[in-house]
Symmetry: C2
Subunit: 246 residues, 2 copies
Amino acid sequence: MSGWLCIAGLGPGDEAMVTPEVSLALAQATDVLGYIPYVARVASRPGLTLHPSDNREELERARAALGLAARGGRVVVVSSGDPGVFAMAAAVFEAMEARPDWLALDVRVLPGITAMLAAAARAGAPLGHDFCAINLSDNLKPWALIERRVRAAAGADMAMAFYNPRSASRPHRFEQILQLLRESCEPERLLLFARAVSTPQERLLCVSLGEARADMADMRTVVIVGSSTTRRVGRFVYTPRSVPCA
Amino acid sequence: MSGWLCIAGLGPGDEAMVTPEVSLALAQATDVLGYIPYVARVASRPGLTLHPSDNREELERARAALGLAARGGRVVVVSSGDPGVFAMAAAVFEAMEARPDWLALDVRVLPGITAMLAAAARAGAPLGHDFCAINLSDNLKPWALIERRVRAAAGADMAMAFYNPRSASRPHRFEQILQLLRESCEPERLLLFARAVSTPQERLLCVSLGEARADMADMRTVVIVGSSTTRRVGRFVYTPRSVPCA
């Protein structure tokens, strides 16, 4: 048995942000699995089978990938961004937990440029100081926990990056988060709405909390909330490295 | 004037994790500036001047880089990991803030694989759910703020990644953080000490909070503290995507 499984990050969209180790894994693969738009980024070639699947089928996809590797396939599961940040890596380990015979497989995670860091780079350096990454989807966790984490981050004056801020199935949740931020932060606090960074659909919008509206975000948007020290310099937004003593 | 400045992330060490856009910027550069061991990763060639400088000279380095770009240089400031995460990007914007004539320069940040995500990938997926990134150095911020942020993150049950956990100039601070964690978290809580990931000096150590000792970390280590749901599966450690309703 010489099969292997790589869970690989394709980065935010631009091929110039795909690492050479990910490109090499894709070049060696017999099978590539992933959400439809991510698999669409992989060029087809003889000897490679593409297995696109729908969103919300992560665990089933992970099992299928492990099964293929167990039968000797050279398998890549693709995520956009980084597979370890709200993406497929955790789903694969969850699937392995239920099948001890899969634990001996050659499984590796290949990191990628995650959406918040691509967005931060495009805008300047809003995550240049301590920050959190919070997934605002309550598909897999209680909404109360999300609110608790956002409150804790705001209370400790950390910048925040929100993944999956808004979807058709929960159109009002992000408005609740903005309301919660308005209770904790000054109206001048800077928010960055970064959509589809590094793709032709890229759109960057930096506004104050007072100006922010829920419909500035959609499922392709990462929202970065600055700390109290985050500020504009020219066309950029950044968080200084220093916090003065009070 | 056709100069430009890129602040580029070299990733954690392995050249296979340097993105093509960073490699291209380095190939086009006339000048490369950065901390000595990071500049040492860039091959010298005719037409390229390397400007290595010491640690803790970030602002001076940023000014020098902007000055070179203003005089028409094609300049790359290199950071390890991602330049936007506790690295050079914020220093460059700080320098630009003081010199409005530099605001019109062609300045871009090129993201890289930051240490915590390289470490997480190597170990499994410990940052697979909500998490924070906190710099434990109090060179540029009050120690009390660091403690407040760690307490907030522990209180909201977020995983944490600690950059710069320990140095010769503050040997006892990390022990204080471990003590603080012991007050908030159960002794079984998992900690990952990931040193120099993807280099020949790589060393990964996963222990419980009860077993953790301050001297398991040094300045080349990123420490990841799991959430209450983080667990081992075989040789891996991961944080599940789901948090059950209480």
